[in-house]
């Protein structure tokens, strides 16, 4: 192993999406030796697919808007297991972070007075739910993620950030004290494997929607950071909480923004009925995503679905007119024509709830520091390890994320992690170097694949995993089905451990990357399955037939999955915001 080349940085950021680039920008400006290591060229990261916008109380649409109202919506939207100190930080710091993006050049759409255009999104209210629908989502047409990601990449170029593009992080390297001191990474172009040494390792690797057969997520969303952290023995929080976006295009899975409903579109069943009026009389189509997704599934199960198989519903937009569609939703018009063969100016788009977002992830504090918990239930910081963005669980999204809050999460907590790491580096960080055996244990996995001589094929195993998750851990869940899923996953883990990588070549070997990704999908799927089975209640996106009610007595808690024992423990939710009164749990209706 000693012949492994090493690269040394003050901070290594794994992932070139919104949160990674925002963290990198902060560190690059500070002059710290920072690199972004990304398996794709940064603007190919999944942030680019975000459409509708970034939710933030910048008081543009409504001059009296208040970040506390946004915080209330966020906490309620998360069904009360969002950490209130984190939601407070995100919503109050948000405007600063959004104005910074504008100053960097993000081409937001505009109001007549020149300020940033904001549109209504689901779960938004004025005056703590008492003042009706708010319009709080700042948008660049329906390409906000693209505009945001490119702007951040451009500003990293401006600030001379070092990029290791098309490099794949394999596993974390821990020293003898258990501190994270870097990672093993592979240059995809040459196949060279190196030891990246770093005082701060930031997992900004995004989500893992590819554990499901049907997802809005990019093909690259394989939960690499989650897999790395679990293999290193660190716990995952709230992994049972997966958001199913109401409007994935039927068949293709591609996303149709909630902004469609924000602009006045609505869902109809086969009778042409606007059915959300029955399920959420006030917010209707702009209720929380979990509520809308469940309502759609109920319509389908009760025989009011559309199409020959009655297995989807329609999103009606034609009444908005070509001008609004062309101005506010041009990307949706394109996507519907390409993937649904429908011109939304004339016909409704067939849609179905589709896996979209992982609310859970690596537990962190508001500085991005990864957290673990001891036997007595006390939190401890994991030295050297940070996470931000979808890979992290701060938790601002609790059991259900509000639309437009993910982009805000990325920039606020990417920035926060960057600032904190800068400060920590200034104060000085000294950890023990990794020993040869520490490095060897981080090399185990890639070595296993490289030495595999036979076994099952990677794409087939991946398809099986996705089918298990789709069947047993979808919008509605129940014990019997989940137990079967957990058993099947246990068998699948064995098979993946013996699977075969036929192509051992070095130059741009995408088969090797897919093999390594499959391990990560397996880790994420298992954590999800066990957490879903063990949380015996229905809350937010986690909805069980056998436990249909929210159980605040037992489950007003985060779940924490420990990989070594495969146990699920409970962790306290933060109910102590610093500047506002606690939002006490209430019955959640829209």
């Amino acid at each position: 192993m000693s012949n492994l080349r090493s690269l040394t940085f003050d901070a290594i950021i794994i992932g070139g999406g919104g949160s990674g680039l925002r963290a990198a920008l902060e560190l690059a400006k500070s002059g710290k030796k920072t690199a972004v290591l990304s398996k794709v060229f940064p603007t190919r990261s999944h942030t680019v697919s975000a459409q509708g916008g970034i939710t933030c109380a910048i008081a543009s649409d409504d001059p009296n808007d208040d970040w506390r109202w946004h915080m209330y919506d966020t906490v309620k939207g998360g069904d009360y297991i969002a950490d209130q100190d984190a939601a407070e930080y995100m919503c109050s710091e948000g405007p600063k972070a959004v104005f910074e993006l504008e100053h960097m050049g993000l081409p937001f759409s505009r109001l007549d007075n020149g300020r940033i255009y904001q549109r209504p999104f689901g779960g938004q209210s004025k005056n703590f739910g008492e003042g009706g629908q708010a319009a709080r989502t700042c948008a660049a047409a329906d390409r906000t993620g693209h505009a945001l990601l490119h702007t951040l990449y451009q500003n990293n170029l401006k600030n001379n950030t070092v990029f290791l593009n098309e490099w794949y992080a394999v596993d974390l390297v821990k020293n003898a004290s258990g501190d994270v001191v870097g990672c093993i990474a592979m240059c995809i172009e040459t196949g060279e494997v190196v030891h990246v040494k770093s005082k701060a390792t930031v997992l900004a690797t995004g989500g893992a929607g590819r554990i499901y057969a049907s997802t809005t997520n990019a093909l690259i969303n394989t939960g690499d950071g989650i897999g790395m952290a679990l293999r290193a023995g660190f716990p995952m929080q709230d992994m049972e909480m997966w958001q199913f976006h109401p409007t994935g295009i039927y068949g293709a899975g591609t996303l149709v923004t909630e902004g469609c409903r924000g602009e006045g579109g609505y869902l109809i069943n086969k009778d042409g009925e606007r059915f959300m009026e029955r399920y959420a009389p006030n917010a209707k189509d702009l209720a929380g995503r979990d509520v809308v997704a469940r309502s759609m599934v109920m319509e389908i199960l009760e025989g009011r679905g559309c199409g020959e198989k009655g297995d989807h519903v329609f999103l009606k937009l034609d009444h908005l007119g070509e001008e609004v569609l062309g101005k506010r939703l041009p990307g949706i018009v394109e996507l519907s024509k390409t993937f649904a063969h429908v011109d939304p100016a004339k016909d409704p788009i067939p849609v179905v709830p589709t896996c979209h977002y992982m609310m859970g992830g690596i537990p962190t504090n508001i500085h991005g520091q990864a957290i673990t918990m001891d036997e007595s239930g006390n939190d401890h910081i994991v030295n050297g390890l940070f996470a931000c963005g979808e890979a992290a669980c701060v938790s601002v999204h609790g059991a259900n994320r509000l639309g437009g809050n993910s982009l805000l999460d990325l920039v606020v907590f990417g920035r926060a992690a960057g600032m904190f790491i800068e400060g920590a580096l200034n104060e000085g960080i000294e950890y023990l170097d990794a020993s040869e055996s520490d490095i060897e244990s981080a090399m185990k996995r890639i070595t296993r694949w490289n030495e595999s001589e036979g076994g099952e094929s990677i794409p087939e195993l991946k398809a099986e995993l996705q089918e298990i998750m789709q069947t047993s851990f979808g919008v509605f869940r129940e014990e019997k089905n989940m137990l079967e899923g957990v058993d099947k996953l246990a068998l699948l883990r064995e098979r993946i451990a013996n699977a075969h990588l036929p192509d051992k070549s070095n130059a741009f070997n995408t088969a090797r990357v897919e093999a390594l990704e499959l391990d990560n999908l397996m880790e994420v799927a298992e954590a999800t399955a066990i957490a879903a089975l063990e949380r015996k209640e229905s809350r937010g996106a986690h909805s069980r037939y056998d436990y249909p009610d929210r159980d605040d007595v037992n489950w007003l808690k985060h779940s924490l999955f420990f990989p070594a024992t495969k146990e699920l423990k409970k962790r306290d939710v933060n109910f102590k915001p610093k500047t506002v009164d606690t939002f006490e749990p209430k019955v959640r209706t829209y």
């Binding site: 794709v40 060229f41 603007t43 190919r44 990261s45 999944h46 680019v48 697919s49 910048i58 543009s60 959004v98 104005f99 504008e102 100053h103 960097m104 050049g105 081409p107 937001f108 759409s109 505009r110 109001l111 007549d112 007075n113 020149g114 300020r115 940033i116 660049a140 390409r143 693209h146 505009a147 490119h150 702007t151 451009q154 500003n155 170029l157 401006k158 172009e189 990019a218 093909l219 690259i220 293709a252 591609t254 996303l255 990307g331 996507l335 390409t338 993937f339 094929s457 990677i458 794409p459 036929p502 192509d503 070549s505 070095n506 130059a507 741009f508 070997n509 995408t510 088969a511 897919e514």
Partner: protein, 236 residues
């Protein structure tokens, strides 16, 4: 239904002394799938086949390639758009060095993008809120900011093939104009002086291949025309 005949460019620098075309038979079950779906089916037959892909919905720009002679994104190109006589030929984007199979080295393309300083420059201190911009000023960025850096345009441009080191190319110039057109940007004269040599902009011969292939329906030739006008106005 007979299988689709796909001919694909193969080159692995470790094992092949020269590139070659390999024939695949792909059973699409008669469905009008996307070219990217066909590539995935081929990869199941031969896991060594290398190509880039990410979003699979036409916004990340990973899978630009040459399909039956025309550049485009594999993920949003249905077979019915490109297949002729049940045959599909897939080659990497032309004019850039091939790393392996369909994967090209985009270094030169990115270098030209970086050269135009693709970031907003404003020498006044930012206000406490956003900089104001009227909807009309913002409208000027439509058709410019949507570029996904897929390189379909620049790699279909003969001027870029001949002078990839000196001619910025349609993608870079589109982005250059995106900042020249932004009411918030104050670096107009520096941007223009960075482009006034005979090659950077003026090597564009108005062939318009860029417009014909842009998967996002953008018009780099028009943007280049606007830059020319600004350069000429600046010079007089």
């Amino acid at each position: 239904m007979s299988n689709l005949q796909v001919s694909v460019y193969r080159y692995n620098p470790e094992t092949d002394s020269a590139p070659y075309m390999q024939e695949f038979q792909v059973d699409t079950k008669g469905r009008d799938v996307m070219v990217l779906d066909v590539l995935h089916m081929m990869k199941e037959q031969d896991s060594g086949l290398a190509f880039r892909r990410s979003c699979r919905e036409g916004v990340c720009g990973s899978d630009g390639m040459n399909m039956n002679g025309k550049n485009g994104l594999a993920c949003i190109t249905p077979l019915s758009d490109v297949v002729k006589n049940n045959k599909l030929t897939l080659r990497p984007l032309p004019g850039l060095p091939v790393i392996r199979d369909m994967v090209v080295d985009m270094g030169l393309f990115y270098k030209q993008y970086e050269r135009i300083q693709p970031y907003l420059q404003n020498d006044t201190p930012p206000p406490a809120i956003e900089r104001l911009q009227s909807p009309e000023e913002r409208d000027k960025l439509d058709g410019l900011y949507e570029c996904i850096l897929c390189a379909c345009c620049s790699t279909s441009c003969p001027s870029f093939w001949w002078n990839p080191e000196k001619f910025v190319g349609p993608a870079g110039l589109l982005q250059s104009y995106r900042f020249l057109a932004d009411s918030r940007d104050t670096a107009t004269s520096e941007r223009l002086s960075n482009l006034e040599d005979p090659f950077s902009v003026f090597r564009c011969r108005g062939i318009m291949n860029c417009v014909a292939v842009c998967p996002k329906g953008l018009n780099p030739t028009r943007a280049i025309g606007k830059i020319r006008e600004m350069l000429l106005a600046d010079a007089t």
